[in-house]
């Protein structure tokens, strides 16, 4: 279990014996005091119109920044409990925050909605104790606009702009429709993304007088730990958007995110709850909208027009608007901040895989140079662990969607779709559900089609066995076609013996190795395995030896060993060592079958180590 935390924010103080301290690690957070450890930056915002934010909105920004800092500083999932069978994922936070509008935030309806929103977003347990703020902490406005006749005042929505493909397509769609764009970007580091700036500059040039960009970022003290999942990030992001939207009197905040990423179905059974992020999930956006409507005291929309689009369809919008050349200026990588200046995509995270496949599916590769990827998405080697697992899960999930019928998709992922349509009006629920199922089917089809296309493109390398085993294509195809036939033959022998031998010996185990061989011989003969028994004789030095079975065409010898007692382990090891030499020197391949019904061999890997070093020999246990 992760130790519960108590965060005292904005200089809040509680007594040393206050029961809220019990069994909690106490931390302090401050964004404005003499020694701030949470820094909220909102600058460079079109030097226009001075308009201080309402106290309630400043409160919201601070609450969001504190929530984000608490989230980032508390690690998840490290120490398993209950005898290593429960992964600690949920955390327990209690936040004590002085606020300017105490009456508003202490209303159970408001605080309840805040907790519900964060619970859905993060899967954590949240509790808030709001206090009346003492003194004037709002002297320094976080956000300042100047200008009276500003064309951006009253835009329909403020747009959350990440600089990725989806938000780029959203910006282009909106600007092409003649609307003004107020783009809000968030970075959790105080580092300005050059590519994002270039992209905005390009948008400004294409749509003169229509675009302003509001980059904002939050930094926290380095003394805090680093929790990379950051599931509360979109709460901070939307709070920043809401502040900007209020300043420009926009109707709300808009995310542009394709429906596949927005719904974010778990690609594997380990991915429960917020392990799959719910950043722009329809339920999240609905809860944001409810909360922000209370904060703004007016209807405040938070929406996502791309909910029924796949990534391919989003990218096609760029082509339709003749803006495909902007693709190369966008960055989708989850590790974007860590890439070199020349290569902005790692090629191994799910975002990079998704991007590259969608671009190929849309036929727009010329705008997304392969050289921009550190690792080739299709053929590049993937490191064991995160990189391989991410590739496997992405491909497996998409291919599964392609192979399933719509009814199967609706059944298997029912829970996740039902949550996505929860806030859709009753009369539209059925069609919304069906649309989401079809959306995922289209996604699966697009990915499967691109994988097939890439296999065809690299067919020469595939046949020659030159595609890296750990690459996306390598893992989809496997290398069965290259596997030596003698190994497959050995697998068949082992498979038959594993299926038959334990059953035959259930009540009475063989008394000796000879009896074991007779039983094995019966199983193999009954299955038409064309093996010669105790043949041929082979000479080694002055002695003759013969295998238990052999296959002449495959130059394969099969040896069965029987471990009845612990004392047998050592002599059998020596016998195997002798066989390695004798058969090896006679140019034979060897399969060693070790029958170990009582599991007496303590370390299988060590037992088979000498055999495993030889390419033409195999050792398999039957138990």
């Amino acid at each position: 279990m992760i130790e519960p935390r108590l965060f005292l924010c904005s200089g809040a103080k509680i007594g040393p014996k206050d029961p809220r301290r019990a069994k909690r690690k106490v931390c302090t957070l401050d964004s404005l005091g003499p020694d701030p450890n949470v820094n909220l930056h909102l600058d460079d915002v079109a030097r226009v119109l001075v308009q201080d934010l309402t106290p309630r909105l400043v409160d919201l920004l601070e609450i969001a920044a504190y929530v984000f800092s608490a989230d980032c500083s508390t690690m998840r999932g490290t120490e398993w409990s209950a005898d290593d069978s429960i992964e600690p994922w949920d955390r327990n936070f209690r936040m004590v925050i002085p606020v300017r509008d105490y009456q508003f935030w202490s209303d159970p309806k408001v605080s309840g909605l805040l907790v519900r929103t964060l619970t859905f977003l993060t899967s954590d347990e949240w509790a808030f104790d709001f206090a009346r703020m003492k003194g004037d902490r709002s002297a320094r406005p976080y956000l300042a606009f100047r200008d009276d006749n500003w064309p951006f005042r009253g835009v329909g929505r403020v747009m959350m702009f990440s600089g990725g493909l989806d938000s780029l397509a959203g910006a282009v769609e909106t600007a092409s429709a003649g609307e003004h764009l107020v783009l809000v970007s968030h970075r959790s580091k105080g580092m300005v993304n050059q590519r994002q700036q270039d992209l905005v500059a390009e948008l400004k040039e294409r749509y003169p007088g229509k675009v302003i960009h509001v980059p904002v970022w939050v930094t926290k003290d380095q003394r805090f730990g680093r929790e990379y999942n950051q599931r509360s990030r979109s709460f901070l992001y939307v709070a920043l958007g809401a502040a900007v939207a209020t300043s420009v009197q926009a109707g709300g905040v808009r995310f542009f995110e394709n429906g596949i990423v927005s719904i974010n179905l778990p690609p594997a059974d380990e991915v429960q709850r917020s392990r799959a992020s719910r950043t722009t999930h329809p339920r999240t956006l609905h809860l944001f909208s409810e909360l922000l409507s209370l904060v703004a005291a007016r209807p405040f929309a938070v929406d996502n027009p791309f909910i029924n689009c796949t990534k391919v369809e989003v990218i096609q919008k760029l082509a339709t608007r003749r803006a495909a050349d902007l693709i190369g200026m966008s960055c989708s990588c989850a590790h974007g901040l860590f890439q070199s200046k020349s290569q902005w995509h790692c090629g191994t995270c799910s975002q990079c895989i998704d991007r590259r496949i969608a671009i190929v599916a849309a036929g727009l590769e010329q705008h997304d140079p392969e050289t921009d990827y550190v690792c080739d998405v299709f053929c590049g080697p993937r490191k064991p662990g995160y990189e391989q697992n991410m590739g496997v899960n992405f491909a497996h999930h998409a291919i599964l969607l392609d192979q399933m019928s719509e009814d199967q998709i609706a059944t298997q992922f029912n829970l996740y779709f039902t949550r996505a349509i929860r806030d859709v009006p009753e009369d539209k629920k059925t069609s919304a559900f069906a649309q989401l199922v079809k959306l995922h089917k289209r996604h699966g089809q697009a990915v499967a089609s691109v994988i097939q296309q890439q296999i065809a493109k690299h067919s020469g390398r595939v046949v020659a066995g030159e595609v890296d085993d750990t690459s996306l294509l390598g893992m989809v195809m496997g290398k069965r076609h290259l596997e030596p036939s003698w190994r497959r033959y050995c697998d068949r022998i082992v498979s038959l013996l594993q299926a038959g031998l334990p059953r035959m010996c259930q009540t009475e185990r063989p008394t000796n190795e000879k009896r074991l061989q007779e039983l094995c011989d019966g199983i193999l003969a009954g299955s038409n395995m064309d093996l010669a028994r105790e043949f041929p004789f082979m000479r080694w030095s002055a002695s003759l030896t013969k295998p238990d079975w052999s296959s002449d065409p495959l130059q394969l010898c099969v040896e069965a060993k029987y471990i009845r007692k612990k004392e047998h382990i050592h002599p059998i090891t020596e016998a195997i060592a002798a066989d390695i030499t004798k058969y090896g020197d006679n140019g034979q391949r060897v399969l060693f079958i070790v029958y170990d019904p009582a599991h007496l061999v303590p370390d299988d890997a060590q037992f088979g180590a000498e055999v495993s070093r030889r390419n033409h020999m195999l050792l398999r246990f039957i138990r």
């Binding site: 429960q272 064991p384 599964l400 059944t411």
Partner: protein, 268 residues
């Protein structure tokens, strides 16, 4: 955005053995066989390593409530005015809804209950997913379409579930799917990393393995099939079904299923 957190399996001896078995090669038991062909052994080994988690699952308030809701849905379906009965327990079925809309209404009610009365956990989440699958797979084939079949057709499908045999089918499916998701919660951390190895040579083998696991768990859950139906009809007749006796039943059913999975490995 759209991030997925992939976790690791603990480095304990028991989990190490599961990893070795999945990896195959020289070290693992069952080497030389495709992983899907060794499903009874893997399932049992995983269950053994995850027994602490299963013990917690039995007392998980969200899982208990999910199964209780299934019983209440089936009881309500016996009555001519079943929509009102369901509405009384917070399940609002749209007038033109089919199985999908019905499953959605159930999930919303369970979500709300869990939020208000306990905490969502990985176990409760797996239970909800299993319940949704169970309803869709058992009731779905009795309607022409999963979407918008209308109340009349949905009512007929639900009435079929309200019999002893119907609840037996629903119970078997629920426990089978839950166990499959429970085991794969751990195994999927291991299997993805073994694609390209001895026993999972390609991505398609992972599908075969997952299918085999689901099938194996559902077949093993036959052990609770009749038990579910008998408990349902007897308990309702004698004392009425309530959260307490449902929880007790669920604990016994899960223990039976666990024993069956162990038994199958011993038999093989």
């Amino acid at each position: 955005m759209g991030h997925t957190r992939l976790g690791k399996i603990p480095k304990s001896r028991r989990w190490g053995e599961v990893v070795a078995t999945v990896a195959g090669g020289f070290g693992g038991a069952g080497a030389g066989k495709a992983l899907a062909d060794d499903i009874d052994s893997i399932a049992q080994q995983t269950l053994d390593a995850a027994q602490g988690g299963l013990a917690r699952a039995i007392s998980d308030a969200g899982l208990r409530h999910t199964f209780y809701v299934l019983t209440q849905v089936v009881l309500a379906a016996k009555h001519p005015d079943w929509p009102s009965r369901l509405a009384a327990i917070g399940i609002h079925v749209p007038s033109d809804g089919g199985v999908v809309e019905f499953a959605a209404a159930i999930q919303h009610a369970i979500d709300d209950h869990i939020y208000a009365h306990c905490r969502a956990t990985d176990i409760s989440e797996m239970g909800q997913a299993a319940a949704a699958e169970a309803i869709a797979t058992v009731a779905g084939p009795m309607t022409r379409t999963l979407f918008g079949s209308g109340k009349e057709e949905l009512g007929q499908a639900l009435r079929a579930l309200s019999t002893k045999a119907g609840f037996s089918d629903l119970g078997q499916k629920f426990f089978g799917r839950f166990m499959s998701r429970f085991l794969n919660f751990y195994l999927s951390r291991v299997t993805a990393g073994q694609v390209g190895g001895h026993r999972l040579q390609q991505v398609g083998d992972l599908t075969a393995f997952n299918d085999a696991l689901t099938r194996h768990c559902e077949e093993s859950a036959r052990i609770v099939h009749d038990f579910c139906g008998e408990w349902f009809s007897k308990t309702e007749f004698r004392e009425g079904i309530d959260p307490k006796n449902t929880s007790r039943f669920m604990a016994v059913a899960l223990k039976k299923l666990k024993a069956e999975l162990n038994q199958q490995r011993a038999a093989s």
